[in-house]
Symmetry: C2
Subunit: 315 residues, 2 copies
DNA sequence: TGGCCCGATAAGGCATCGATTATGTACCGT
DNA sequence: ACGGTACATAATCGATGCCTTATCGGGCCA
């Protein structure tokens, strides 16, 4: 399976014709036909079949097409990326938990980029807790922001505490939440689906069954639903401060909350980590960074906004 | 640049040693060395250089590594995807706007999957309005949910209206918003960065400068900030109904809002679209789908939750 | 300085890619 | 039925991929 073969397949699928694809690629028709044939034999699937008004994709072909598109595009991107790297700013990739991504990653990155001038350019992506040590150890991310890391790869990673805060449960002021927390309806952001997250640990300790949990696309939406009386949500205390202050939400005590937690920054051990990662660690210890982490909520100008991207392990 | 070469590079970067990579791959050391050499010549960059305690990445190498990882992983995924497709459920990929992704995509997909039994499996991804016709036309998505599509590729696409609603501006009940809307502080979700979105059109019509706009990672967060008095937010009226009812937010009239809009479902023209896309169009016209689109807010059980994924054009 | 480890390079062999021209074969319309 | 269009296959050929063994070269340490 080569990139040329995939390109041929993509064009056939898009143009609905082998001949048209050959013309587009500037080669003879059998060249394309043969590339297609190679893919078909390898995958043991016709991928595209003749039909009225062009070639249509088989189920297998329609699965392959988006993957092939990515591979071909990445091939081009690889070239551009290496070329752009000569004389470009050092790049720093952060892997962050869901909650951090939603509230502090953007302003933090913004502040760090501004502070480091043009010399370092940081960006962030969301990852599951379990993936973080792998991402960092494999250099697919330079710094991970989340819970403390420990495990088999711990010897080559270093985890430094950067911020202490508390997890609480919140609900509507008009709600009545007494007795067994496991029986309440719980509302949560995506972090409830991450087995390694602090949020998930709270739910586990309370023995809340999955059937009692509703997952929302983000933390804020879960809080909004909680404010509407739909249930109880797990929250980082200082991040819901404004909702608490406006009495849209109140803290609901449970057996395990308030619970003290600590965000950590995980990198490769000192001698193996890139220079930019060290700069960021320094920055995270400054009062400016503390301020950003403590007071959330500020948006970002449109030009600087980066939508949250979910990072996965590509091993 | 072949996948074998990239694999060799990846292992060298990760293991910090050519010999170790060769051992891991089960080949001789020069084989790896040669693969590396080919990549180096092609990109005119050393990619990895000898240094104390292993090989370290050059700037170019560190850009290449994550891309290479993706390509290699996708290679494996391609195989698995095609294999899994034999006898698997038909798969339907939705490209949706930011706002739809946040509120209705998950419950809509959930309802459709349930209704279609095991025969169709739908999933959704976020895309910019401008990308949608391209994604659909190139079969990288089967259905796009967003504004009406028109343009050069319009002849092979069909856009059907599925839901009518209104855009309004909302702010804190304690806020004072009079006079020129362009002067107010505006709060928005990521859709404010999408030039084709209805939200962006409202901001443009009001001639709000970028400096007056703060972008939040999601719509709900922008509303929460607006409720806190930080400014005015654009909202789909029925999606903020609960906040309006609880008087956390009130509608702020402007020159262009309330503004009637209509969500459309865009697919390939009838004869070229896959069967599943037709089923979804039918479903979208049912009272059940209307109900889901009208009443947002419901979360999803953890097992069914899918984090929002941003789809990009891989051409 | 002399070994030693590790990576780079050279040379050779086999397989595959990617292209060509020529030919076979299925579908469609008059 | 027949011709035309379009895809599939065959035969061929040069270039490249990818692996091997053998050799060279450059730091590191006793």
């Amino acid at each position: 399976m080569t990139l040329t073969q995939l390109s041929a397949f993509i064009l056939v699928a898009r143009l609905g014709s082998v001949t048209a694809a050959a013309k587009a690629l500037g080669v003879s028709e059998p060249a394309v036909s043969q590339a297609l044939s190679a893919l078909r034999h390898q995958h043991d699937d016709k991928l595209v079949i003749r039909s009225a008004g062009g070639m249509t994709l088989t189920p297998g072909g329609s699965r392959l097409l988006p993957i092939a598109s990515q591979m071909v595009a990445l091939g081009a991107e690889a070239d551009a990326a290496v070329r752009a790297a000569q004389g470009a700013a050092e790049q720093l990739r952060l892997a962050v938990t869901d909650v951090i991504a939603e509230f502090v990653a953007n302003p933090l990155v913004e502040a760090f980029n501004k502070r480091s001038g043009e010399s370092i350019e940081a960006s962030s992506g969301v990852a599951a807790t379990k993936e973080m040590p792998v991402l960092v150890a494999n250099r697919l991310a330079d710094v991970a922001l989340g819970p403390q890391m420990s495990g088999d790869t711990a010897h080559e990673l270093s985890s430094d505490p950067i911020f202490r805060c508390r997890l609480v449960a919140v609900g509507s002021p008009r709600g009545r939440y007494r007795g067994r927390a496991a029986g309440w309806p719980w509302l949560a952001g995506p972090s409830a689906t991450d087995p390694g997250s602090e949020t998930r640990k709270v739910l586990d300790k309370l023995r809340v069954p999955d059937s009692a949990i509703q997952v929302f696309p983000n933390q804020t939406a879960a809080w909004a639903a909680a404010a509407g009386g739909a249930g109880v949500a797990v929250a980082v205390e200082h991040l819901v401060a404004s909702q608490l202050q406006r009495h849209e939400l109140v803290v609901v005590p449970t057996q395990v909350t308030p619970m003290a937690i600590c965000w950590h920054a995980t990198t490769l051990s000192r001698d193996r980590r890139p220079a930019g990662a060290g700069s960021l660690l320094h920055f995270l210890a400054t009062p400016q960074a503390m301020r950003v982490m403590r007071s959330p909520g500020a948006g970002v100008p449109p030009a600087r906004f980066r939508p949250p991207v979910y990072v996965t392990i590509w091993s």
